[in-house]
């Protein structure tokens, strides 16, 4: 007799004000950027000012990624812990769409919850960025139903 599989759909949604992110970059600079974003994410959000000029950042892209990280946390449901934001990476594929890549505690939580697939969509308009994440969880029941 096969082991029953219990499936669950989890959804996370978050919105972030773009000017808040711009203010954070201006106020805290690299301390903010390096605490929250991976090097891949930063490379996707950098606007190169050209030779001799300092890098500038796409606040709407950073805000979308922050929203995505928070949306993933709502899917993973950590209890009494704050996941390292960098353990949740919004990875831009060569085709232009994005995927979520987990590491560390975030990956452990996903494995424990049986979540083997996450899908993300991000959007923004003039003032806010938003992201929605869907996770598909399949638990293989070990005991009595």
């Amino acid at each position: 007799m096969s082991t029953p599989v219990r499936t669950e759909l989890r959804v996370g949604l978050d919105i972030v004000a773009i000017d808040e992110v711009a203010d954070s970059v201006e106020c805290f600079g690299d301390r903010y950027l390096l605490r929250i974003f991976t090097s891949h994410e930063l490379s996707c959000c950098r606007r190169n000012a050209g030779p001799g000029g300092a890098d500038t950042w796409s606040s709407e892209s950073l805000a979308g990624r922050f929203a995505a990280k928070e949306a993933v946390m709502k899917v993973l449901r950590p209890v009494e812990m704050q996941l390292d934001w960098r353990s949740i990476e919004v990875h831009r594929m060569t085709g232009g769409w994005c995927q979520i890549r987990l590491s560390g505690k975030a990956e452990e939580l996903a494995v424990d919850a049986g979540i083997d697939e996450l899908s993300v969509s991000m959007s923004h308009e003039a003032t806010v960025a938003a992201a929605v994440v869907v996770g598909w969880s399949s638990h293989r029941d070990r005991g009595v139903a």
Binding site: V16, E20, S24, E80
Partner: protein, 81 residues
Amino acid sequence: MTVDETIRQVLAEHGRLAVPVESLADDTDLFGAGMTSHASVNVMLALEDAFDFEFSEKMLKKSTFESINAIRAGVAEMTGA
């Protein structure tokens, strides 16, 4: 400036609260008072600047920033005060 005054100043400048910081009791839920997750990151960074330390990984949880009491306890743990 006392620890409590510094915490309240940080909250006023970075907490993006929906209410004046003067109206907050020490045990008021800051997230209930309008502080977003993103604003709590700024509060965390500003507290590190103000008190010259870096929060340890185990302190980086929502409950550390949920009230002035909780922040005071976190600052005390990090500074050994």
